[in-house]
């Protein structure tokens, strides 16, 4: 696992490359503001895998993931001034919006399902969509799982479990606590510690020394 972890961390270093340099992001946002469609296409090309990946992982549904992806980039095109690059890079903003929209979609979908079949409880397990049969998809999914596992491997098991539920299942603090059988305060504390660790991963100085 150590070597995969190192690979993941190397990818983070790679993400700080010229493609995502702050100056370039400032420029792309300025171009989007004045209506340069090529700039939106460039942002899509750079970050669609990130946005789509988050949406797909959280919704576990290709169509919903497509909808989320469309919403995220349309939102950026309509409201580029909402991006505050002093708070984080553009990819962090896009991932954040993608996550929020994906969680919203899942909740909407759950409400619809409950209304339609009140006796059936929605299954939100990881393999909710059944096994992937396509060989290429399976290989890609395995690689993603390895990368994700490598990131989560940097966290203690209890923090990792809380973070999985909060981020990928979109559960609230209370729901995380209930699912793990721990007090809500403990759930909050575990998530806080997990986030602190992830923030360290985001710190360029930390990246520079790994």
């Amino acid at each position: 696992m150590k070597s995969v972890t190192a690979t993941v961390e190397t990818e983070y270093l790679g993400a700080m490359s010229e493609r995502t340099a702050p100056g370039r992001e400032v420029g792309l946002l300025a171009r989007i503001r004045v209506g340069d469609e090529c700039a939106l296409a460039a942002v899509y090309d750079d970050y669609a895998p990130l946005v789509y990946g988050v949406a797909r992982r959280v919704t576990r549904d290709e169509q919903l993931a497509r909808d989320v992806c469309q919403e995220v980039f349309t939102y950026l095109w309509e409201f580029p001034e909402k991006v505050d690059l002093t708070r984080g890079p553009l990819r962090a903003f896009l991932a954040m919006i993608a996550h929020r929209r994906a969680v919203d979609e899942v909740r909407r979908s759950e409400r619809r399902s409950r209304a339609e079949t009140s006796s059936v409880e929605l299954d939100v397990a990881d393999d909710a969509n059944g096994p992937e049969t396509d060989v290429v998809d399976s290989a890609a999914a395995r690689w993603r799982d390895e990368r994700l596992a490598a990131v989560l491997d940097l966290l203690p098991e209890d923090q990792c479990a809380a973070l999985r539920l909060a981020y990928f299942d979109g559960l609230t603090y209370l729901q995380v606590a209930t699912r793990l059988g721990i007090p809500e305060g403990t759930a909050k504390s575990r998530l806080r510690l997990a986030l602190a660790r992830l923030r360290t991963l985001l710190d360029p100085e930390f990246r520079a020394v790994i």
Binding site: Y52, R87, R91, L148, L198, R199
Partner: protein, 302 residues
């Protein structure tokens, strides 16, 4: 629920699950976005103002700058051709008086192709006049131009030295000129470089873009069939597709895209920024970009 901090901190998780989207999604996403806001349309746009209003604001700004100067500032060197701040303001006084004549539909003014030479007699006549009085004379003459411009139809033809134009063209060139000399004086007197308000900047930049083919033609640059896209960033920015030979834009990919700050591109047109100093992104034909940027100051007369 969770806050922004939570979600911004989870970027490593998001990056770990990144995967290529379906190939057909790109076109669908871009089409949906452009359905909400047309390409080329800025998210916000300053209001439109008439050239007479814009010129009046420029006169007010310029007078505000001059009024902040002391007599000693008048002696500072401000311009290669005009010399001191005093003589520069004297030059502008002559320009305003000439403009008043051009705007008088009953005045037959002889052709004066050389902008600087046309003002020299007035500069010499005002040489011994105290700086404050020269400023007042300029202001009086400039206010006269504002009044005359308002009384004159915008399309009334005027030959501006050697440039055939009309009242709108004259006022646009004058707005650029006052800004250029405001920069000269600000630089000479250690003041921050002035920038026109967004409404004026939009007016100046949009007219500059319309004037690019004329500027190239004036300088004799051959650009038949070539097109350029200008992406001017900033609050008064916008996207402009320009057929460099003055023809129609055919919708094809431009030969070159020049992406730069709207104020800086206008500073080049005003002759106050060398094209090499433009912090621009050039996509496509770099030689063509160099040619275009080298000639967009063709109408700056100093």
């Amino acid at each position: 629920m969770y806050d922004d901090e939570f979600e911004l901190s989870t970027l490593p998780l998001a990056e770990a699950v990144a995967e290529a989207p379906p190939a057909d999604l790109r076109a669908a996403v871009l089409a949906a976005a452009w359905g909400r806001r047309e390409p080329g349309r800025p998210t916000t746009r300053p209001g439109r103002i008439s050239s007479a209003d814009a010129f009046e604001r420029s006169v007010d700004d310029f007078y505000g700058l001059l009024a902040s100067l002391g007599p000693e500032d008048g002696e500072r060197h401000a311009h290669e051709d005009h010399g001191s701040v005093h003589d520069l303001v004297a030059h502008l006084t002559a320009v305003e008086r000439l403009n008043q004549r051009w705007l008088d539909t009953e005045d037959e003014v002889e052709l004066l192709p050389d902008h600087v030479a046309a003002t020299r007699p007035t500069v010499e006549a005002l040489a011994a006049v105290p700086f404050g009085e020269v400023v007042d004379q300029w202001h009086l003459a400039a206010r006269g131009v504002v009044s005359a411009a308002r009384d004159c139809p915008p399309s009334y033809p005027i030959v501006i030295h050697d440039i055939p134009g009309n009242v709108d063209v004259l006022l646009t060139l004058r707005i650029f000129e006052l800004w250029a000399h405001a920069m000269d004086i600000a630089f000479a007197t250690d003041r921050p470089l002035p920038v026109p308000d967004d409404e004026r900047m939009l007016m100046m930049s949009s007219r500059l873009m319309r004037g690019v083919p004329g500027a190239l033609l004036y300088r004799g640059a051959v650009v038949t069939g070539r097109t350029a896209r200008f992406v001017l960033t900033g609050d008064a920015g916008g996207c402009y597709d320009v057929a460099l030979d003055g023809g129609a834009v055919n919708g094809a990919e431009p030969d070159v895209t020049i992406i730069g700050d709207v104020v800086d591109v206008c500073r080049i047109a005003a002759g106050r920024l060398h094209p090499d100093g433009l912090d621009a992104v050039i996509e496509g034909d770099h030689e063509l970009a160099r040619l275009v940027l080298a000639h967009i100051d063709a109408f700056a007369r100093d």
